[in-house]
């Protein structure tokens, strides 16, 4: 099926155009930060409407990439850029847009370099959307690397990371990861020509080439997940970020790796990749347990959320390694809810930390006095730990069943890590609900009504996704 009106190109181009508008927006005096913010919000909402429209023309039952758009890009080397989507990728694009929207709600009052923040956010959004709609190896790689620059700038400018060397290392490790993928892409190109993403997993890459290509692919994707030995700089960066939007965007990085594995992994592990999968399973489970335990004993709320996110991402990764097509779709549905939940949790947590610093008071018991905040924060925490209020619940249940069925010992360790990660979030919720008289934060520090309604809308989306994952699609 081809795309009418080049809709896929449009959803990539729109945030980029928005970025250009933000660049030209006035940013002085009374409108400082407002114009840029409004253009950003407007662009994202417009893109969400377009994505919704694409859902309507998509055949949700088909497992193939649809609405293909092909552009002849280069003659030497002969490369065509192909764009296409399936339900999974479009769902992830929607989730990313909603996550950024939630992140933006957390920085609506920010005045520090707001224009730059909006510029890089829209650039990141454009690149990440391009990444999810890429349907051939070159466009996939192109967007995989391109999203690094806005990410680096956002972390560097707004992350408030104390150790600047960490930002360099973070960029360089990711850059090396991207270069490794580039070498694998070039190898595939020289053996098979310009290849579509769907065909990559079925390539007959055997012997040394297969070993190298799959090794390079695994290494490059793993460089974006906080899995050993890549955990140090990612965890150091993520746990140090204080800007909610920057945190949300950084938390989306492992998603690109998860998606990469979904697209690249062959249906049967026989062509050089089986060696890597065994090791990744072992390393993955060990990392999960350790990060869950560190998150549990750590007192920093930000680190607790980071450890929860890491544990779940690794679970999704292990789910992909089960090589079951149904599970992959469950992962897609689960990720949709998961991304919204973690973004909301991060933004709310950021708000609490901000209030805590502003009032120079503890936040223990704050939720007892801020009802609106209490409601949304509690809802998001409960959704995160796995209560049946979002798509995360039922889909994670299926993924876990599959993982337990595949390897009971590994599955048990995994359940242990998930329980600890859940307890970590509940521990924080309990702290915020435990009434403490020394807390100087009161009712007046509660979230504003419009923001509350916005968060309620997000809880509504989560609830509906629990009832039916694609509830918003009106079939034509």
């Amino acid at each position: 099926m081809s795309s009418p009106f080049a809709l896929l190109s449009l959803i990539v181009a729109l945030p980029f155009l928005g970025m250009l508008f933000v660049l030209t927006a006035r940013d002085e005096g009374a409108v400082k930060g407002r114009n840029a913010f409004n253009v950003c919000i407007f662009t994202i909402i417009a893109n969400i409407i377009l994505i919704w429209r694409i859902f309507m023309i998509l055949n949700e039952k088909s497992r193939e990439l649809q609405l293909l758009e092909k552009f002849s890009w280069l003659s030497t080397p002969n490369i065509n850029i192909v764009l296409g989507v399936d339900t999974l990728s479009l769902l992830l694009i929607l989730a990313v847009h909603l996550a950024v929207l939630i992140g933006l709600s957390g920085v609506r009052n920010n005045l520090y370099k707001q224009k730059s923040l909006m510029v890089f956010t829209l650039l990141f959004l454009s690149m990440v959307t391009g990444f999810f709609v890429a349907a051939d190896i070159f466009s996939f790689y192109l967007f995989f690397e391109a999203m690094l620059v806005p990410l680096f700038m956002i972390i560097g400018m707004f992350g408030e990371v104390k150790k600047q060397d960490l930002i360099y290392r973070f960029f360089l490790y990711n850059f090396i990861g991207a270069l490794i993928l580039f070498s694998a892409t070039m190898l595939i190109y020289h053996h098979q020509g310009s290849t579509t993403l769907e065909a990559v997993s079925r390539l007959p890459l055997k012997g040394g080439i297969g070993f190298y290509v799959w090794g390079a692919v695994c290494l490059s994707f793993l460089s974006r997940i906080p899995i050993w030995p890549f955990h140090y700089w990612i965890s150091s960066i993520n746990s140090g970020i204080r800007n909610p939007l920057a945190f949300v965007i950084t938390a989306l990085m492992p998603l690109t790796a998860i998606y990469g594995f979904i697209r690249f992994l062959p249906p049967h592990f026989s062509s050089g990749i089986d060696n890597y999968v065994v090791w990744m399973n072992i390393i993955g489970v060990i990392t999960m347990v350790f990060i869950a335990l560190i998150g549990f004993i750590n007192k920093d709320a930000q680190y607790k959320i980071f450890s929860y996110i890491t544990v779940y991402y690794i679970m999704y990764l292990l789910g992909i390694f089960t090589n079951d097509e149904v599970i992959v779709f469950n992962i897609g549905y689960s990720l949709f809810g998961f991304i919204i939940v973690i973004s909301a949790l991060e933004v709310l947590s950021g708000y609490i930390i901000h209030k805590e610093e502003e009032a120079e008071s503890t936040s223990r018991g704050f939720l007892c006095r801020a009802r609106k905040l209490s409601f949304v924060y509690s809802f998001m925490t409960l959704a995160a730990v796995g209560l049946p209020v979002s798509a995360v619940f039922v889909n994670n249940f299926l993924i876990l069943s599959k993982l337990l069925g595949t390897n009971i010992k590994m599955g048990m360790l995994l359940v242990f890590a998930l329980v600890i990660a859940g307890m970590t979030l509940l521990q924080e919720l309990f702290r915020l609900k435990d009434d403490d008289k020394s807390c100087r934060l009161g009712k007046s520090d509660d979230i504003s009504l419009p923001w509350f309604w916005f968060m309620l809308f997000m809880t509504f989306i989560l609830l509906m996704s629990f009832v039916k994952p694609l509830w918003f699609v009106i079939s034509e």
């Binding site: 890009w73 030497t76 080397p77 360099y168 360089l172 070039m186 020289h190």
Partner: protein, 475 residues
């Protein structure tokens, strides 16, 4: 006879600039820095037009030959020079200095470059290279108040003298061995003999070595980097943007049209220069506190990349090296335009610490700087990615895996050097204010940015004809 003069119009246009500029400088009272830019603009513009008109017409066929290939490089050189002359005029205007010497030397160099690009006889480079050395020697210390410049130019002329001797020895040895100075004859004799003696190899190596010295490939980069760190901006820009095209073309001509039967043996020589340039450039760039010096080393690194890519001298490698050079020049032109915006209290600053917090004072210039640096590293979706892709594609198709690895390692080092600059301009607070930047600089930056951003959507249109011309070039 008249036809011959007409064919020589491009060279005559460049040559006639010199007496006209001399007369204007002597007799015109109300001359400004812009006067000589205006003059050079007309003469260079005329040379550009005539070069295109007479693209396949030649006089003295044994000495020089105008072809589509030489025209491509000449057009690129003249066009880039024209743009750079415009930027240079901004510097002279702001400093209120006479630009007569600068434009005269540069036009003289462009004339030599034009002849060198069409050369078909070894005597032409043998005469022109020393002349170019002398002109460069005069250009480097121009209006520079820094004491270090004297040392740099002294060092440059001493090495130049050594290389003249080498060049002339090489040319004379080749004449003795082959009985001719003409490219076609030398190639024919080499092909006929099959194997040549060590003396011939040494002579060829001396000629190629001189060319690499002029290109400022490592380990002969010292004069270039030294000049860039202290010379005035117009000189730095000219030395960075123009010579790579010319010497790259000369190298291609010599390797494909003269020494092609010896290519196998020469490849290892070029390879060693490429690797040394690659790593000296990338490693040294990481240790610099002077931005211009840092970009000087970045140029050395880029020369290494170009040499590594062109090594096989077949049509694909030539096209990819040309693509890489064009993209490099576009990005470097942007970088030098940005340098013109680094003005604080009337002085052009070049220390890394002096540009900290630039994004707060000059957000658009900082953004442009960021884009050009990212393009130089080759991160998509900027045009630089095309250069990297094109070059690595050539290496992969030749199954030169170790070269790919080396290139990527050097690229990471180079990226780290640029990250230091990005940190300074974006993540650190503003130390001092910057002067107002000329609007025309913004306009030029915008055009350059559009070229870099938009061209990636359909890069083929930019170099479609160039690819056709270069695809015919091979050993």
């Amino acid at each position: 006879m008249l036809q011959n003069w007409l064919i020589l119009l491009p060279e005559l246009s460049l040559l006639s600039f010199l007496p006209v500029a001399w007369l204007v400088n002597l007799y015109r009272e109300s001359k400004t820095a812009k006067t000589f830019f205006t003059l050079s603009k007309y003469f260079l513009g005329a040379a550009l037009v005539f070069t295109i008109v007479f693209y396949n017409k030649s006089v003295w066929s044994g000495w020089w030959l105008n072809s589509r290939y030489s025209t491509l490089f000449k057009v690129a050189v003249y066009a880039v020079a024209l743009v750079w002359f415009y930027f240079a005029s901004k510097w002279f205007l702001s400093k209120n200095r006479s630009s007569a010497k600068f434009y005269s030397i540069c036009m003289g160099m462009l004339l030599s470059f034009g002849i060198l690009l069409s050369a078909q006889n070894l005597l032409v480079p043998a005469v022109l290279v020393p002349l170019l050395c002398l002109l460069t020697w005069r250009l480097i210390p121009l209006y520079c108040d820094d004491e270090k410049i004297e040392e740099t130019s002294r060092l440059y002329i001493r090495f130049s003298l050594a290389f003249w001797v080498l060049l002339w020895s090489g040319v004379l040895v080749l004449r003795w061995q082959t009985g001719s100075f003409e490219y076609a004859d030398i190639r024919y004799i080499f092909a006929l003999e099959g194997e040549v003696n060590w003396l011939t190899y040494a002579a060829v190596a001396a000629i190629i070595g001189t060319l690499l010295f002029m290109m400022a490939a490592a380990p002969f980069h010292f004069w270039f980097v030294g000049a860039l760190s202290v010379a005035i901006l117009p000189v730095c820009g000219f030395l960075t943007l123009i010579p790579p095209f010319v010497y790259l073309s000369c190298l291609i001509t010599l390797m494909t049209g003269v020494f092609s039967p010896l290519a196998q043996s020469l490849q290892s020589l070029l390879f060693s220069f490429a690797v040394v340039s690659l790593f000296i450039g990338a490693v040294s760039a990481n240790r610099q506190n002077n931005v211009r010096r840092l970009f000087g080393f970045s140029t050395t690194y880029n020369l290494g990349v170009m040499l590594l890519g062109i090594l096989a001298f077949h049509s694909n490698s030539v096209v990819s090296a040309f693509v890489y050079t064009i993209i490099y020049v576009l990005a470097m032109m942007g970088i030098y335009a940005v340098f013109l915006g680094f003005k604080s209290k009337g002085d052009y600053v070049s220390d890394l610490d002096d540009i900290s917090g630039l994004s707060e004072a000059k957000p658009y210039i900082a953004a442009a700087f960021l884009v050009f640096m990212i393009s130089l590293i080759g991160i998509p979706p900027l045009l630089g990615f095309w250069g990297r892709l094109s070059l690595i594609n050539t290496l992969v198709s030749e199954e030169r895996w170790s070269d790919v690895l080396m290139l990527m390692f050097a690229l990471v080092l180079m990226a780290n050097a640029f990250l230091q600059i990005i940190r300074k301009i974006y993540f650190e607070p503003l130390h001092h204010g910057f002067d107002r930047t000329d609007k025309s600089i913004y306009i030029c930056l915008f055009i350059n940015l559009v070229l870099i951003l938009i061209s990636i959507l359909n890069p083929s249109y930019l170099l479609h004809d160039a690819e056709i011309v270069l695809s015919g070039v091979s050993q």
